[in-house]
């Protein structure tokens, strides 16, 4: 008995893990099967449970004597879960009854945990097949963008679509993506908007021009002050965008609220200047940094989003300028504007909170008035005084000229793609529809399919619409068709286990471009070349070279590293102002994307994700990390002498997305690491565990508060695997900045010990310990990428394929690009 227990302990220490994504088929000495149940579980139940929960008595209406393995039905599963939960809580057996030996109990708990996880898992599996997968919203957006070749920077047809269902953070799992009547209605709406935007008119519109000088209206509290200060002669911007109060942060052209009459390129000329950049005011009150030139950006605005002086959903960078301090100059740009949008102006490095500054500026002036200022003017509204005489730093716009639309090409690329080189003729309708459907359905179309779409065209003609409008309605119908919305990953022949070439083309393009296959891929599919491994290799390289593969990087990172959640828990504005003033959210995301893009381009060893001696930063991020000498908004690769950064765990995006914007939790970070980097997610906590009621008044650290995890055996079993990983990262605050103490009082202790016995003092040593687990990391990454490429969960039957991939990957040097190649040329990739 003793020896047996010792053996079991050592097996438990190293390998007890319940991976949701792969079946565990043994726990130490006890495989999950009927024999093990009969030999080890049934006797346990008999000794400690059946007396009160058996044929004679059924306390709490529970009876366990008929329990068996395999788990026969849902009720039996509930019983298993029940037993497991109460054993974990220590509530059963009751205190006054005989208690089992702790090690014996732990064995049973571990066995039950694995059995239950398997049972839940087997309810979900789809037998290694990708179930009919509809385009998710991200893929729909990209597909429309490529199908129509049009500017999408202020147009998102998916904006009203209901949120997607995720599975283990993945957004493209076929059997989980749901279609509903509501979504279908949204698809109709979207199709309408898309086609109307793409083909608004047949004749080239004549350019017009508009001029705005004076009588500038902004927001009501500013308008009255501007009237006093300069009779609304100027458009002024004071604050940075996305501040708390938005006081003079977005300067619209209210006289141009209706926006441009048609979508097209517009020339925008702005006469603007930086006013009083080199101020001498108290930098704590007037926070505009004199070291930096004032930067003005043009973004679009649309009245349908409400007030034009407030943030709106679309804020692409249409043009950015550094303003001269030597009086007004003209700044010119030519940019696309969708119909109904008008330009708005923002002050990128403006003040984060300008209101207090007005008082400061005016008070200073009143204390020492310039004799040349007429005294009655100093008695006006204090803000007006600050603006006119103060002078509070701001961007001053004198005049704006807009002209257009112009078109770089006519007909537009969209027109050429859909209709053709010349004008529209009704006789061409069928050809246009057929061509469009071929591209939209991602394969050659049958006559019947074209007929169905032409039936829509004909019906609309009958209803009195023009041939042009009716043709457009035919296009809309194609966009609502299931053949467009779903990826028809059909086999080469019914019941065959091999995807057709067109199926492979789509799977490839949605993997690496999140969009439809291009002409070259479709041509190769037509000639049945896509099952050839050399062709596949060449295509993968071509596709990774194409800028559309950036969508693979961001789509995959969103799922694998949960980066789509970045921004969900906005950090506290007071404590983390830099997050907003320095636009850190965008910067930290860019770092991780560039890092991954670079690893892909140069086929770097995937170990670099665990630890690396380089990363990518801009000035704002370098400031966050405490690095000197980096200037500007642009990103550059830097070598790291600092071993604390390096690898994903040193990157602010990871550290922010694993915190909640307010404080850090080692449990959250530990679980994230286990789930996403090591592929060994812990079992869920038992119900009714007393929740942690955070108390940040006292001097107790989070480590102290989590001490309870160590005090109870049942809790400890899981938490010894979770907590240490989180402790290692405690030196990083909720936005990834390094800290050595909590609130200047209590020093941070980032040490820990892994279940294997390896101990570490800090994150640097922790990363070294992680390097010893790089096989687990490789497996987790491969699982995720394969799942992403197939649009389904990874299941038991995939294990041999994964093993093969890992062996080949290691043989070739563990390069990230090689992993992509290996996945594409694998047998599984070619299976329906």
């Amino acid at each position: 008995m003793r020896i047996y227990h010792a053996l079991l302990l050592s097996a438990l220490c190293g390998s007890v893990s319940v991976a949701v994504s792969a079946k565990t088929d043994s726990i130490g000495e006890h495989p999950i099967n009927a024999e093990a149940f009969d030999n080890h579980i049934r006797p346990f139940l008999k000794e400690y449970c059946i007396q009160c929960h058996g044929p004679e008595k059924q306390k709490g209406e529970r009876q366990f004597d008929a329990l068996n393995y395999p788990i026969s039905d849902d009720n039996a599963l509930i019983d298993y879960q029940d037993i497991l939960d109460l054993l974990n809580l220590g509530d059963m057996p009751p205190e006054d009854e005989v208690q089992p030996d702790p090690i014996e109990k732990q064995t049973v708990v571990d066995w039950l945990t694995a059995a239950v996880a398997d049972a839940y898992h087997s309810k979900e599996i789809t037998g290694g097949e990708t179930v009919l997968r509809r385009l998710n919203h991200r893929e729909y957006f990209n597909t429309i963008s490529d199908l129509f070749q049009m500017d999408m920077s202020m147009f998102d047809p998916t904006e009203a679509f209901p949120g997607e269902r995720m599975v283990e953070h993945q957004d493209n799992i076929g059997d989980t993506l749901v279609t509903s009547g509501y979504l279908l209605d949204q698809y109709f709406d979207a199709a309408d908007r898309i086609v109307e935007k793409a083909l608004p008119f047949q004749e080239k519109p004549e350019p017009q021009s508009w001029n705005f000088a004076g009588d500038f209206e902004q927001q009501s509290e500013l308008n009255k002050r501007h009237m006093v200060a300069h009779k609304q002669r100027y458009l002024n911007i004071y604050e940075a965008p996305n501040t708390i109060r938005r006081f003079g942060a977005y300067a619209p052209l209210m006289a141009f609220k209706e926006g441009v009459p048609v979508g097209g390129y517009y020339k925008i000329r702005t006469l603007a200047e930086a006013v009083n950049r080199f101020h001498n005011f108290n930098p704590k009150k007037v926070t505009n940094d004199p070291e930096e030139p004032m930067r003005m950006r043009i973004i679009p605005g649309h009245k349908r989003f409400g007030a034009m002086h407030l943030p709106q959903p679309y804020a692409p960078d249409l043009a950015t300028f550094e303003l001269s301090d030597n009086g007004p100059s003209w700044y010119t740009t030519e940019t696309w504007l969708d119909q109904g949008f008008s330009p708005r102006f923002i002050f990128l490095n403006g003040s984060m909170d300008i209101r207090p500054a007005f008082r400061e500026v005016t008070n200073l002036l009143l204390a020492n008035p310039d004799p040349s200022i007429p005294p009655e003017e100093l008695e006006e509204d204090f803000m007006a005084v600050a603006i006119k005489h103060g002078v509070i730093p701001h961007i001053r716009i004198h005049e704006v000229e807009i002209s257009g639309p112009y078109y770089e090409e006519w007909p537009t690329p969209t027109w050429k793609t859909i209709v053709g080189k010349g004008s529209f003729k009704p006789s061409q309708t069928r050809r246009i529809i057929e061509q469009f459907a071929t591209r939209a359905y991602r394969r050659p179309v049958q006559k019947k399919e074209v007929n169905r779409l032409m039936a829509v065209v004909d019906a609309r003609l009958d209803q009195g619409h023009s041939p042009f409008e009716s043709m457009k309605d035919g296009l809309k119908a194609a966009l609502c068709s299931p053949t467009f919305l779903y990826l028809e990953e059909s086999p080469v022949a019914p019941e065959a286990n091999q995807l057709s070439d067109y199926g492979i083309a789509s799977r490839l393009s949605y993997f690496l471009w999140s969009s439809l296959p291009d002409e070259e891929l479709l041509k190769l599919a037509k000639r049945n070349k896509l099952s050839n491994s050399t062709t596949l290799k060449t295509q993968v390289d071509r596709m990774l070279q194409d800028p559309r593969s950036d969508r693979f990087v961001s789509g995959f990172l969103d799922s694998w590293l949960t980066l789509r959640n970045l921004g969900d828990a906005p950090p506290d504005r007071k404590k983390f102002e830099a997050y907003y003033s320095d636009n850190l959210e965008e910067a930290m995301r860019t770092e991780t994307e560039l890092f991954t893009r670079n690893a892909l381009n140069e086929n770097l060893n995937i170990d670099n994700f665990i630890d690396s001696d380089f990363t990518f930063v801009n000035e704002a991020l370098a400031d966050l990390y405490g690095f000197e000498g980096i200037e500007g908004d642009g990103f550059q690769r830097i070598d790291l002498d600092d071993p604390r950064r390096g690898g994903l765990l040193g990157q602010a995006s990871i550290l922010t997305v694993t915190a909640n914007g307010v404080d850090t939790s080692p449990v959250l970070r530990g679980v994230w690491l286990l789930e996403n980097l090591l592929g060994t997610p812990p079992a869920p906590p038992p119900p009714d565990v007393e929740p942690l009621n955070p108390d940040i008044r006292g001097a107790t650290t989070i480590r102290d508060q989590l001490a309870k995890h160590r005090a109870t055996t049942a809790c400890y079993e899981c938490h010894r695997k979770i907590d240490p990983l989180g402790f290692a990262l405690e030196n990083f605050d909720p936005i990834g900045q390094w800290r050595t103490s909590y609130g200047d009082r209590v020093d941070i202790d980032a040490s820990g010990e892994l279940p294997s016995g390896e101990s570490f003092q800090n994150v640097v040593e922790f990363k070294q310990a992680l390097m010893n687990r790089k096989d687990a990391f490789a497996r987790a990454l491969t699982n995720k990428m394969l799942a992403y490429s197939l649009g389904r969960r990874i299941e038991i039957m995939d294990r041999p394929q994964i093993d093969e991939l890992l062996a080949a990957l290691e043989a070739e040097g563990n390069g990230l690009r090689d992993l992509v190649h290996l996945i594409v040329s694998s047998e599984t990739f070619a299976k329906p």
Partner: protein
Amino acid sequence: MNRRVFLKSSFATLALPALESVAAAIPLKSTIAAQSQAPRRMVCVGNSFGMYPERFFPTETGPHYRMTPLLSPLEKHRNDFTVFSHLDHDIKGGHFSVHSFLSGVKMGDAKGMPEGNITVDQRAAEHVGAATRFPSMTVGSEDGLHGGCQMCWTRTGVRVPPIEGPREMFRKLFINENAKAQEEAADNFALRGTILDAVKDEAKSLERRLSGQDREKLDEYFTSVRDVETNLELDKRWSKVSKPEAPYAEPQDRSLVEDIPVLYDLIAIALKTDSTRVASFEMAGTGFDTSFFGLSSGYHSLSHHGQKPERIESLVEIEMYQMREFAIFLDKLKSIREPDSNGTLLDSTMVLFGSGMGNGNAHVNTDLPIILAGGGFKLGEHKRYPEERGKRVPLCNLYLSMLQQFGVETDTFGISTGTLRDLEVA
């Protein structure tokens, strides 16, 4: 584009009525005349961070409990509402489970439930069907921390997107499309009908090429098509009926916090004009601009007060605002006579106020703050249900009581074990 606005007005807030009720879609007047009593109505209000428990729940039970600070704005309605302790859905997950507030079922578990994770308001809306222009109207925050409240769900697992501002609500309620817009709308109906026919054929053709799990998955598409067809029928019928006259000029959208009073007002009018009999109002934490209260910390940040007294005061200030506005809403309902009856709108409208979050600081979803007002129930006390595990009462039992009072013939709702004991009808 007017036609889109018009269509969204019906569909987006439409729950999926049972197909039988399409046939039963009859104009307004005859519905009311056919009833011998006032129609039942329901309003559900929720936020995403809960209420600070120490200042919300009274100590004493029964009708003579001492008003707590957060309940004090409701003092004059003391006889018209009951506050409940220890009701919840026995669920974990913090922010990620807040969406189960009105259903008792997390979205991930919906597949295993016979009615999915349908919420109590949507279940009531199904019952109303097409008797009103809008089977239900949901207003408030579309988004928020970790998705926000996500308060209302249909039988098919679709989250009902809320109307986000007073302007849109106003337009839905009162603005009849002008003749041109009506023409455009009719044309849009025609286009949709034509496209629906085409895609149905397409789907049948696709179905023949699929097998097994793929075929089953395509079923979702067929169901979706049927749902769209049903709603198209309803849209067409209601498009011929005029909307009630607007009581005032079209309001502009300001911000969620500032617009709360207006939205409550529009809900009251929507009920009064019988434009709908089921309304929901969800207030998510992130849309809540705390600078309105002169606070610089965010709502989420304050809900994690960490026991710091100043932070608790700030949090309670935000919550007091919500309670005061709720009290004003009850005032309004009380001041409106129910036509063809002796009572007020409050007598025929059951109003639920609460949250899917029990304690924001600890992220627990147990012991939810729940208030029930009006609706013809016997109210006016603090009811405390058992705290001990094994004796707890499901919140869904309250919902079942509400549904039965609403007129729905059912014995279960969500994870209910029966109606709520000790809750009687007046």
